[in-house]
Symmetry: C2
Subunit: 536 residues, 2 copies
């Protein structure tokens, strides 16, 4: 059956259930959206109408919620005369249906039926449930913009891999990608740049072509609705107080006007840690409260990501306004100012029933109890957060930063960072052994991150994401043994079938034999780091 991610328990039987024109769906309460998704997606692939049917008929797919199961757990039974998918909640039903789609073969992932295809399911009984409740993918649409339909495509690919949190990195020095009605210059000015560095920041090459784009609020509503139908939560990220040059270029008064000429800033066109940082003024707080008010109206997610990473301090050191603020607030230094900034929005979000999440730098100043941490600089931040009682999403750059190269070979396009092969990702363990079981309960889950400095288009993102995201999905979903005991050969065997699914989906993955000629980027400087990852 070659399922990915691997289900908890599979009991195969002899024989098949053939799906004919009569094959229909009985959608129990709460599963109507999944039935509609099936008619649209599987209906397109197979040409079957999948009409509504009654429970006492043959050749029916019965979808139902069975409260005894965990919310995302499901039971899938393919019997000679019908199929049952029972989930602990509508989400569980949806994940069960994803498994069923894989059982139908790779052509079930196309958008129109190939001539002469017939459709059958192997008889089986599958019981399954995810290991983690947060199975995330972060997409950076700031460095390189992904148009709306590309985002919807990512959500489809996530659903097919049972990933359920889309961390939407919407703003950065290089672009502001979400329409904010009260601050229109954020997109008028902040959503495009005149040129872009090609490769690592040390590269001498430029793409001398304007780059830009943003999502209207209706686009965002559509993306959120589309994700919700696929039981994916969208967690928006508005990065503060660093990574904000695009916003400062649009509204110079957000910057430290007493130490630099903020009116001379434009959206950044290269990579790295930018020295520009938001001024710690009441004006800045009010401005971003306005931004977050609109963000909260668009995104219903419990968590809202405020970035908080790589905050530069030099301008604050030199700014009399910032220093006055430090004195006024009785803070020790600029680190305190950063904490005050994050703390302001922590309180602000909590008062509105939301929870703040930020990169692990936000830990440094203490946080409200409900705040959570994306542990990216290794496990340490996550361990500290869990021990302090904060929830954690484990996404250490040493393991699941998919911009890092996946092979040591010389033909890897724009090689960045450590070599993280498919096997390395397969052996990634989100819960470090240092944590007690009590502490480990704070690990909500794990997330792979797609930073797009060196991924200029969808094909490049596909190449970096796949096949490794399939291994990541299995780490996040399946109850695998300890890293050293994981059966990578068996996973690779299943991947043979999975590559056919990715082909049908039109995913431009890295082939096991290495990049195709047009996937290479000869002459573009990367920044490969040799040896095993530093830190963990």
């Amino acid at each position: 059956m070659d399922l990915i991610p691997l289900p908890h328990r599979i009991e195969p039987a002899e024989g098949f259930l053939e799906l004919g024109d009569d094959f229909g769906i009985e959608a129990g309460p709460g599963t109507e959206d999944t039935a509609r998704w099936l008619r649209a997606t599987l209906g397109a692939a197979t040409g079957l109408a999948l009409p509504p049917r009654k429970g006492d008929e043959y050749d029916v797919l019965h979808l139902s919620v069975r409260p005894g199961l965990d919310a995302e757990a499901y039971r899938l039974v393919v019997a000679p005369h019908g199929v049952h998918v029972q989930g602990g909640s509508p989400a569980g039903v949806f994940w069960g249906v994803q498994t069923m789609r894989q059982l139908l073969g790779p052509d079930a992932f196309r958008r129109a039926p190939l001539p002469g295809r017939t459709w059958r399911l192997p008889l089986t009984e599958i019981r399954d449930a995810p290991r983690f409740r947060w199975r995330g993918l972060m997409l950076d649409v700031a460095r390189h913009f992904t148009p709306k339909e590309g985002v919807l495509r990512h959500l489809d690919l996530m659903a097919a891999h049972k990933l359920n949190v889309f961390h939407f990195h919407l703003t950065d020095d290089q672009g502001w990608r979400i329409e904010i009605e009260r601050h229109p210059r954020l997109t008028e000015i902040g959503s495009w740049r005149a040129r872009t560095k090609t490769g690592h920041r040390a590269s001498p090459l430029w793409e001398d072509k304007p780059h830009g784009g943003y999502y209207t609020q209706d686009d965002i509503r559509e993306i959120v609705a589309y994700a919700t139908e696929r039981h994916i939560t969208v967690v928006p990220e508005i990065d503060v107080p660093g990574h904000s040059q695009a916003a400062i270029a649009a509204y110079p008064e957000l910057g430290n006007t007493d130490v630099i000429d903020t009116t001379a800033l434009s959206v950044w066109d290269t990579w790295g840690i930018n020295p520009n940082v938001l001024a710690p003024t009441d004006n800045t707080l009010r401005f971003y409260e306005g931004v977050f008010e609109e963000v909260l109206r668009l995104f219903p997610s419990e968590f809202v990501h405020i970035g908080g990473d790589e905050c530069p301090k030099d301008q604050w050191r030199r700014s009399e306004t910032a220093q006055a603020r430090i004195r006024e607030l009785g803070l020790a230094d600029e680190d305190g100012l950063q904490s005050w900034f994050i703390g302001h929005f922590d309180t602000w979000l909590a008062a509105r029933g939301r929870r703040l999440i930020g990169w692990d730098e936000i830990l440094e100043g203490g946080l409200a109890k409900g705040a959570a941490v994306s542990s990216w600089r290794g496990y340490a931040g996550g361990i500290a957060a869990a021990r302090a009682g904060h929830d954690v999403v484990m996404c250490p750059e040493q393991h699941v930063y998919l911009d890092h190269r996946q092979d040591p070979g010389p033909e890897e396009p724009v090689p960045i960072g450590w070599v993280r092969t498919l096997e390395d990702v397969y052996r990634f363990e989100p819960v470090p052994p240092e944590l007690t079981p009590e502490e480990a309960r704070h690990v909500l889950g794990t997330q792979a991150n797609l930073w797009t400095e060196v991924m200029e288009d969808q094909a490049r993102v596909d190449y970096q994401a796949f096949p490794r995201l399939a291994a990541f999905a299995e780490v996040a979903w399946s109850a695998l043994p300890a890293p050293a005991e994981r059966d990578f050969a068996e996973f690779q065997r299943r991947m043979t079938a999975h590559y056919r699914r990715l082909d049908a989906l039109g995913v431009a993955y890295r082939p096991p034999t290495g990049p195709l000629p047009w996937q290479r980027r000869p002459g573009v400087l990367g920044r490969p780091i040799d040896g095993p990852p530093a830190g963990r």
Copy 2:
């Protein structure tokens, strides 16, 4: 209602029909695919399940074929308690449903329901039928590759504009894009190039990045099936005997080996008319018969396009092999050789029940009666063809080559050719007045062509195609008055609504106010031609 293309007759009434959860579809014989399309597409946009319903119930969309109507004609009646779409064939029903989708408002073109939306149709009766049976769009995927899902997207955009012929330009000097099982090097070698000229061929700039990609045969089958469901015919083009450098690079023996070193050729990386041409040998004929055998298996269309344009003659003049062939066949010169080459495949296709179509150069040597012509160098070729009894598709470069710039302003990206504004396209007339009514019957229709030398990605293609393709669709479908009498102001008024539909579809069109900053290409040389188009 602001429909585009404009229907033949609209009788609006007072009031609306609200679409609720009960709203269902009664699909008459032959309309099942359209019902499935509605559930997938309109179901996704609205969140409505659109279940199968019986004819005697309220709140039903009745789809039916009514043989009395012309095949593509339809009648759409929105009454207080239900909707009727009757078509002369399943295609007519499908076009009627496209009109109904526009009546629902722009959000009916999204892929998930925006929160709080309700859905209603204005009461009306519409009678409609197309002016032409060939309402085409050509996409050049050889100069810049469009991945499979981009092709499917073009088919969706065509369907929304009631266009029904997709001319798929699959091979050219710069790339071979279709898997041919018996000649694997066509894609192994021919589907990619190491670098690409940026801008017009006189530009000094290069994109120093490999470019490539191709469709597997399963991808082609999926594309054809997807098009068929949308009542779009896919006409494949395999360009011979010129525009063949990619094939010669893959199989050097296809070239004129006695006058050039064909083993030194690679896939072409710049634009213009390439001097390389297929050798007029039996080996070449057998090779391409093999190609066309696989093409015929994949594409069921009546017409198969063999290119035939811009055939260079210099190598044939110098080649002893070519000259011997001219003598052997008793031909006058190299023009005769070109005709012989086209004639061979004309006969070969006719013997297999297909009809050849080629660019108007193929007229020069006489053609089988069933062959047809794409008139691109103005109307003259089409007029001559029609007078000789050949069918014609009118696609004069002076009017409907959408790579030509759409505004005289300095900010137009990589300006090519004559200024062809939205209004110019709206006033394009496919049938020249020179033709008698009898001759004019040979004008099958018209086609807009998207050559992609200066369109490197989907956003650039969108920019050149839209909004002009909307005007073109109206020219191809609607019974408009003579060009000078067409009410462009009224069309523009309807475009205001249509831009909202394009927004919902995620189309990166040229705004009426000019290119957005990131749609510009400063510093890239184009080749604008001043004044009105030469020729007609």
